[in-house]
Every structure is written in structure tokens, then in C-alpha cells.
């Protein structure tokens, strides 16, 4: 995870990116690709599709970096949103749903692989213990919201959980994460 990270002030990195300087994108990739890829693969559940989504996400970042406003939030927040939205869009696209019907087995293998790979990273980051302690029903709700792009209302409808309960679980999960994640 930390093998090729470049230490650079976020401000300088943003300047490089806004100038469409290739060095900036190389640093961005080195520093954040693992985090982005992890989220993407968790959403699309296929390495092949994840690579495409990753490429699309970087193209979007390249094209829209002018519009990124440092005062509105951290660079990571922004690029993570771009990657997550690109992946969720892909997940919901007809094309994707059609190909996945035939590749269900492949997808399962990939998921097992990538989950196996990610656990090492989790340990490295010292977060796994915290996440493990998250109650399954809280983790489920967070995963649906974050990785499936469901709204709280959709989670309530699809899983037959009262909306109030969904909200309480989200709150509890976030309160819990807040307490342990700095």
C-alpha cells in the first residue's frame, strides 16, 4: 500500500493537477489508487470492470479538476466521490448488468481474491479491528449506502427495515467509527 507514495502538500498536488501536469496524475495514482481501487472493486466486484472504471474515473478527474474547489473539501473526498459514483453508475448500467449475468462465477472468484487481498491492507491500516466490532446490521446498512449507492429510503424498502431503524443504524455506525477512527 505504501510502497510508492510520494509526500507532497495537497495544495501543490492540486496545482499540478489543475495544470494537467502528468507528474501530478502519477503522484495522485501512487497515493490514492489503492483506496480508489478497493472501493471500486467492492462495488463492481470484477477486476476487469474495476480496471475500466478506474480508467474512467481518472479521465473524469482529469477533465473536471478545474472545477474542484479546495475550499469545498479535501482532494481525497473529491476523487473518492468521483471513483465511487463512476463505479455505481457502471453497476447500474444495463451493459454491466447484461455481462454480469454470464460472468457470475468469475465475479465470485474475483471477489474472493480481492477480499483476500484487501484484508492484509486493512491490517496494515489498523482498522480491521474497529470494523470487526461494527454490528453486522450496521455494517450491512453502511455497505448498502456506500457501495451499492442505495438511499436510506431504498434500503428501508428493499430490506423491509423501517426507515427510522435504517437511520438509527447509520447514525450508530458512524458514531462508532468516529469514536475509533482518527
Amino acid at each position: 500500500m505504501s510502497k510508492r507514495k510520494t509526500v507532497i502538500a495537497e495544495e501543490s498536488l492540486v496545482t499540478l493537477l489543475k495544470n494537467k501536469d502528468q507528474r501530478g496524475f502519477s503522484i495522485l495514482y501512487d497515493n490514492y489508487s489503492a483506496a480508489l481501487y478497493g472501493v471500486i472493486i467492492k462495488i463492481v466486484r470484477s477486476e476487469e470492470v474495476a480496471a475500466d472504471v478506474m480508467q474512467d474515473a481518472f479521465v473524469k478527474i482529469w477533465k473536471n479538476i478545474e472545477g474542484y474547489d479546495t475550499s469545498k473539501g479535501a482532494l481525497f473526498t473529491w476523487i473518492l466521490n468521483v471513483a465511487r459514483n463512476t463505479a455505481i453508475d457502471k453497476l447500474r448500467s444495463q451493459e454491466f448488468q447484461n455481462t454480469q449475468r454470464n460472468q457470475d462465477l468469475d465475479a465470485h472468484i474475483h471477489v474472493i481474491d480481492s477480499q483476500g487481498g484487501s484484508e492484509l491492507e486493512v491490517d496494515a491500516m489498523g482498522l480491521s479491528k474497529v470494523v470487526e466490532q461494527l454490528k453486522p446490521e450496521q455494517k450491512q446498512v453502511i455497505d448498502l449506502l456506500y457501495f451499492k449507492g442505495y438511499t436510506q429510503e431504498e434500503v428501508s424498502k428493499e430490506y423491509g427495515i423501517p426507515l427510522g431503524t435504517v437511520k438509527t443504524r447509520v447514525k450508530a455506525a458512524i458514531t462508532f467509527l468516529r469514536k475509533y477512527i482518527k
Partner: protein, 261 residues
């Protein structure tokens, strides 16, 4: 504003996850500016979710970096080409968009020209119709006036018969003895030469009085009014006619007497 209730409503989580609509987003952002507690809550939710997401981090295949950077490199090249040729050659990256813009612009121009032309033509046509309408209205008024004159009980119909020079010639004078109007009609006369013109005369107390020049043989026309007359006659005169003082210079073509005299 109950900030706690607002925080509890779950809208901040929806906001961070990008599930709020445009109005809600603006609302949340405004409130965040107003209430530090809300801003803090948003940051905490965001941070927690990001950290949660980060725990799934995993290294992408090594070759993916090269592939992604290569695509960005292509974009940069296209961008540079587009910038250097910005005036005439659209970048291939945005070529569709540029092409669409040009096509739409061209279509719009053509449409404008066509519409302007049509508008102008229509406008001309409206003017022509308007003028035609006015002419028709005038003609109608004219005919009505003539009909009223012809049908008037005090109107005499005097048939002017062809004289020796043109025995077949004929004309009709309608003379309203009350209003004194004179209408000349039904002109069957040989076409005059370009230097000549027919002139109507009223014979008053034995003397020919100028009753007006005849501009056309094709339609009836009102002539000068007369209080009294014993006969009407038409002579062929040099262009511009002759005065009462000199009397008709040319030959009389048709003549008719008023009956009641």
C-alpha cells in the same frame, strides 16, 4: 431551528453520500455555514465513511497505472492540438461537440435566412394584399356610387349615337338632374391614336361646354357636373383636349339629346 433534530434526521448522511436533491444540498450547505455544529457533523460523517472505505483498499494490477496514465497522455495531446488549432480545427476529444455546435450554428443560420426571407416575402405579400384590398374597396365604392347614380329616379339616360365618321360608335351618359352628376359609360369608340384623346361636351344653350377629358374607354367615369344641358357629344381632340373658349377642334363621334328638353 432545532439543530439536533436536523442532525438526527439523517439528511447529513444523505448529503455526504450524494443522495440529496439540489434544494436539499443547498439547504445543507447553507446551514453548515451558519451552524458550526452541522459542519462538524458533516465532516465527521465524511471522514468516518472515507476511513471505512479505505479499509478495503487494495493494490490495483501494476499495469493499470501505465494504462491510465497513457489515456491521460492521449487526452493531453488532444488538448494541446485543440489549443494550437483552436480557431478552425476542433479537438478530436471534443470534435463531436464542436461539430454539433457548427452544425447547429449552420442550421440556425440557414433557418434564420429562410425565415427572414419568408418573413419578408409574407410582409411584401401582406402589403400587396393590403393595397389590393384598398383598391378593391375604392372600386367597390366607385361602383356603388355609379350604381346609385344610374338607379337614381332623377337620372336621365342619354344614348349618344354614332355620327357619320363612325356610325357604329356609341356611348351612354347618365345625368342626374338633381345632383347634376354626369356619368359616362358604355364607350364604343374607335381607339384614339397616341396623340389624340376623346373629350365630352355638354351642349348648354346651343354652346359646347367642356365636360371633361376621357381617359379610358374601358370603364365608366364621372365627368364634370352640369345644372343644365340639352345634349352631350364626344369629339376626338388633340391630346390634352380643347377649351370651352375654342370649342371642339376635332370631329364629333357620338351625340345624344336630353329627352325632356
Amino acid at each position: 431551528m432545532n439543530i439536533q433534530a436536523y442532525i438526527e434526521s439523517g439528511i447529513l448522511e444523505s448529503y455526504v453520500l450524494g443522495h440529496t436533491n439540489a434544494n436539499e444540498t443547498v439547504e445543507v450547505e447553507n446551514l453548515a455555514k451558519q451552524y458550526p455544529l452541522i459542519e462538524e457533523e458533516i465532516n465527521a460523517i465524511r471522514h468516518s465513511l472515507e476511513m471505512y472505505a479505505s479499509q478495503f483498499a487494495c493494490q490495483p494490477p501494476v499495469e493499470l497505472k501505465e494504462r491510465v496514465l497513457h489515456v491521460l497522455d492521449d487526452l493531453a495531446t488532444e488538448d494541446a492540438e485543440a489549443t494550437s488549432n483552436i480557431i478552425f480545427v476542433p479537438s478530436s476529444n471534443n470534435s463531436f461537440r464542436y461539430a454539433a455546435v457548427w452544425v447547429l450554428l449552420a442550421m440556425s443560420l440557414v433557418a434564420n435566412v429562410v425565415l427572414f426571407y419568408r418573413w419578408q416575402t409574407s410582409s411584401d405579400q401582406v402589403l400587396a394584399l393590403e393595397s389590393e384590398k384598398q383598391q378593391l374597396a375604392a372600386t367597390k365604392a366607385n361602383y356603388q356610387q355609379q350604381l346609385a347614380l344610374v338607379e337614381h329616379p332623377s337620372t336621365e339616360k342619354i344614348i349618344l349615337q354614332g355620327q357619320t365618321i363612325a356610325p357604329q360608335a356609341k356611348a351612354v351618359v347618365y345625368w342626374n338632374t338633381q345632383t347634376q352628376e354626369v356619368l359616362l359609360s358604355t364607350l364604343h369608340l374607335p381607339q384614339p391614336s397616341a396623340t389624340q384623346q376623346y373629350q365630352l361636351w355638354a351642349i348648354v344653350e346651343g354652346k359646347p361646354i367642356d365636360a371633361g377629358l376621357i381617359d379610358t374607354l374601358d370603364s365608366p367615369s364621372l365627368m364634370k357636373s352640369f345644372q343644365q344641358a340639352m345634349a352631350f357629344a364626344i369629339s376626338l381632340e388633340p391630346k390634352g383636349g380643347s377649351s370651352t373658349a375654342t370649342g371642339p377642334k376635332g370631329q364629333i363621334y357620338v351625340m345624344g339629346f336630353v329627352k325632356h328638353i
